[in-house]
C-alpha cells in the first residue's frame, strides 16, 4: 500500500512527466519556420518604441504597499465573517484588534505624507508678445 506521501510522490512524477512530454513532443513534432516577425519582441502586435527600462514614479510603489494593508484585511475578514455568528463577542474583539493594528499602519503612512500625491504643475506655454516683428 502507498502511504500518503507515496501518493504525493506519484502526483509529482506524473506532473513532471506531463510537462516534460508536452515540451519534448513540441520540439520533435512541431514544424519550424523562422521569420523576421516571429523573432521580434512581442508587444501587442505593435512595433516596440523606446527602451523598456523607463523611470516611473515611485509613488506607485507606495500605493501598492498600502494596497496590501487592505488586501490582507479582506482576506482575513472573509473567513471571519463566516464564523462570526458562532464565535460571538470574542471574534468581534479579536477582529477589532486586528483592524486596529492595520489602521495604525495606515495612519503611519498618512502621517508620513505618503498619500499626498504631488499635483502636476504643467508649464503652460505663454507668449510674451502678441505680434511677431519681422527680425531680419
Amino acid at each position: 500500500m502507498l502511504s500518503d506521501f507515496g501518493q504525493v510522490l506519484i502526483f509529482m512524477i506524473i506532473s513532471i512527466g506531463f510537462v516534460a512530454i508536452a515540451v519534448i513532443s513540441g520540439k520533435i513534432v512541431g514544424p519550424r519556420f523562422a521569420s523576421k516577425g516571429k523573432d521580434s519582441t512581442y508587444e501587442c502586435g505593435e512595433d516596440t518604441v523606446g527602451d523598456t527600462w523607463v523611470r516611473f514614479n515611485f509613488r506607485y510603489y507606495v500605493v501598492a504597499l498600502i494596497f496590501i494593508i487592505f488586501d490582507v484585511e479582506i482576506v482575513f475578514l472573509f473567513p471571519w465573517a463566516v464564523v462570526f455568528k458562532e464565535m460571538g463577542l470574542l471574534a468581534f474583539i479579536e477582529m477589532t484588534i486586528f483592524l486596529f493594528i492595520l489602521i495604525v499602519g495606515f495612519i503611519y503612512a498618512y502621517a508620513k505624507g505618503d498619500l499626498y500625491w504631488d499635483k502636476p504643475q504643467p508649464i503652460v506655454p505663454k507668449l510674451d508678445r502678441q505680434i511677431f516683428k519681422s527680425e531680419i
Binding site: 500518503d4 506521501f5 470574542l90 493594528i101 495604525v104 495612519i107 503611519y108 502621517a111
Partner: protein, 478 residues
C-alpha cells in the same frame, strides 16, 4: 479556544507589541525631536522586564497550546529584554552621530523583540516560525539602516538572501516533522518522539536545527556573521549578536534537551569543535575590531554548542548564565566600539574601528579603555569577570556528561582566544596615539556612558557574585 484569563499570562508580550505600534505613531507625530519615542520605548522594555521578572515561576501552556510560559522561557526572555534595554540606552547617541536617528528604529527594534519573545515562548512550530520571521525581517531592516553606505547595503542584502534561504530549510524541516508525527504542537511531538524515530522525522529535525544553527552561527552556517556585523550599525550588531542568539538558543535548547539525542552526541561535539576552531583561529588574523567581535561571537556560539552537546539540566543552567554574561560583555564591547567609532569625512565608511586607530586609547579616554579591557578580558574568560563563570558552568556540565575531551579542546581554544583579545588591550594601553586627533579625549554622551556602566556593572557583579543569578532563578538548580 482563547480564554481571556490567558491574556494575563502574556502581559509582557502585549506590552511589547502594543508599544511597538504606539512608538511608530509617536515617532511619526513628533518628527522634530527623537526624545519622546526614545523614552517611551525604553520604559516599555523596562515594564516588560519587570512583568516577566514578577511572574518568573509561572508554568502554564496557554492560547490553544500555542504558547508555553515556564521558568526557562522566562529566563531567556528576560536576558533578551535586558540586551535590548541596554541597546536602546546606547542607540540614541550613536544614531544621532551617524545622522540616522529615525523614530522607526525604535519601533522596528521593539517588533524584533516581540518576535524573539514569541519564539522563546512558542509551543507550536507555527508560532516558532512566526516569531523567527518577525525577528529576522526586523533584523534585515536594521542591518541596512545606514542606507547610504555600500557596505551596509551589501551586508543587509547578504543577510536577507542567506536568511531567506535558511528559512526554507527550517520550513522544510517543519513540514517533514509534521508529516512524520502528524502534529505541529511541540509538546505532542516530543511526547510521540520515542515511538517514531523514523528517518523522515530525523531528517526533518536536522533541517529544523539547521535553520536555528544559522541564526546562532554554528560552524557550516556561520559565514554571514562577520560581513553582516561589520556593515550593520554597531549597536545593531551588538544587539543581533546577543539578543538574537539568546532567542534562537532559548527556543532550541528545551526541545533538544527533551529529545535527548544521545546517539548523535558525536555529531554535536564535532560541530562544537569546528565552530570554536573557526571562530578562534580566524579571529587571530583580524585587524578590525567589529570583525574581531563577530568572530568572537562565532567562538561563543561554539561554547554554547558544547553546552548543547552535554544535554543535561546542568548545561541549560550553564548556557543561561553564559548568555547573561555574554549580553553584558559582548554588548558592552560593541557599545564602546560604537562610542569611539566615527564616519569618514565623505560619510561613506566607518572610521576608528581598526586596531591602529585604537592605539593609545587609554591616554585619550581612560574610562572607555578600562571598560573595553574588562569586556575583552571577560570574553576571554579571565576569572574575576562574568565570562569566566559562564564558561566554567558550561565546561563543568560537559565534564559531568563524560565529554572530557571536548572540554579540553574548548579550554585550549579559549586560551588561544586570549591572544587576540590581549592584542587589542596592548594597542590601547601600551602604544602611542597617532594621527591628527591623537591628543583629544573621545566625546562620550551621558546615555552611552550609562549603557557602558550598566554593562560594566553586570560583568563585574555576576563575576564576583555568580550565585546571584542562581538565587534569582532558583528553579534552575533543582
Amino acid at each position: 479556544m482563547i480564554n481571556f484569563n490567558d491574556l494575563k499570562e502574556i502581559i509582557p508580550l502585549i506590552i511589547i507589541a502594543a508599544s511597538a505600534l504606539i512608538s511608530l505613531l509617536i515617532a511619526v507625530y513628533s518628527k522634530k525631536s527623537g526624545m519622546p519615542v526614545y523614552v517611551f520605548s525604553l520604559l516599555a522594555v523596562l515594564a516588560a522586564l519587570i512583568f516577566t521578572g514578577l511572574n518568573v515561576t509561572k508554568d502554564v501552556i496557554i492560547i490553544s497550546e500555542m504558547l508555553r510560559i515556564n521558568p526557562y522561557s522566562n529566563a531567556f526572555c528576560m536576558i533578551a529584554l535586558l540586551s535590548v534595554f541596554i541597546t536602546f540606552m546606547a542607540s540614541k547617541d550613536y544614531l544621532e552621530k551617524l545622522g540616522i536617528n529615525f523614530g522607526e528604529y525604535y519601533s522596528i527594534l521593539l517588533f524584533a523583540l516581540f518576535g524573539m519573545m514569541t519564539m522563546i515562548y512558542a509551543n507550536d512550530m507555527l508560532t516558532v516560525f512566526i516569531g523567527l520571521e518577525t525577528m529576522s525581517i526586523c533584523f534585515y531592516v536594521l542591518t541596512g539602516l545606514l542606507r547610504k553606505r555600500m557596505k551596509s547595503n551589501e551586508s543587509a542584502m547578504k543577510y536577507f538572501l542567506l536568511g531567506a534561504f535558511m528559512t526554507g530549510f527550517l520550513l522544510y524541516g517543519m513540514s517533514l516533522i509534521y508529516g512524520a508525527t502528524g502534529y505541529t504542537n511541540i509538546t505532542k511531538i516530543l511526547a510521540t518522539y520515542t515511538a517514531i524515530r523514523t528517518p523522515m522525522f530525523l531528517i526533518g529535525l536536522a533541517l529544523f536545527m539547521i535553520g536555528f544553527f544559522f541564526k546562532i552561527g554554528i560552524f557550516p552556517f556561520q559565514m554571514w556573521i562577520p560581513d553582516v556585523y561589520e556593515g550593520a550599525p554597531t549597536v545593531v550588531s551588538g544587539m543581533m549578536s546577543t539578543a538574537g542568539k539568546v532567542a534562537a538558543v532559548g527556543t532550541l535548547i528545551p526541545v533538544l534537551i527533551t529529545l535527548n539525542l544521545v546517539e548523535y552526541k558525536m555529531l554535536f561535539s564535532i560541530l562544537a569543535t569546528l565552530t570554536m576552531l573557526y571562530g578562534n583561529i580566524v579571529a587571530l588574523s583580524q585587524s578590525n575590531l567589529k570583525r574581531l567581535l563577530a568572530y568572537s561571537s562565532i567562538a561563543s556560539a561554539g561554547y554554547i554548542m558544547v553546552g548543547i552537546t552535554s544535554m543535561s539540566d546542568l548545561s541549560i543552567k550553564g548556557i543561561a548564565f553564559y548568555l547573561l554574561a555574554y549580553v553584558f560583555m559582548q554588548l558592552g564591547a560593541f557599545i564602546v566600539v560604537s562610542v569611539f567609532e566615527n564616519s569618514t569625512p565623505d560619510g561613506k565608511d566607518f572610521r576608528n574601528v581598526t586596531f591602529d586607530e585604537y592605539k593609545g586609547l587609554a591616554k585619550r579616554s581612560p574610562v572607555l579603555a578600562i571598560a573595553l579591557t574588562v569586556f575583552l578580558l571577560s570574553l576571554a574568560g579571565i576569572p574575576p569577570f562574568a565570562g569566566f563563570w559562564g564558561k566554567y558552568y558550561i565546561f563543568y556540565a560537559a565534564i559531568k556528561s563524560d565529554l572530557i575531551w571536548l572540554s579540553v579542546i574548548a579550554i585550549l581554544l579559549s586560551v588561544i582566544s586570549v591572544y587576540y583579545y590581549l592584542k587589542v588591550i596592548v594597542y590601547m594601553w601600551f602604544k602611542e596615539p597617532e594621527g591628527e586627533t591623537s591628543g583629544e579625549a573621545v566625546p562620550v554622551k551621558a546615555l552611552s556612558y550609562a549603557a557602558i556602566m550598566v554593562s560594566l556593572a553586570g560583568t563585574l557583579l555576576f563575576g564576583l557574585y555568580p550565585d546571584l543569578f542562581f538565587t534569582f532563578f532558583k528553579f534552575l538548580i533543582k
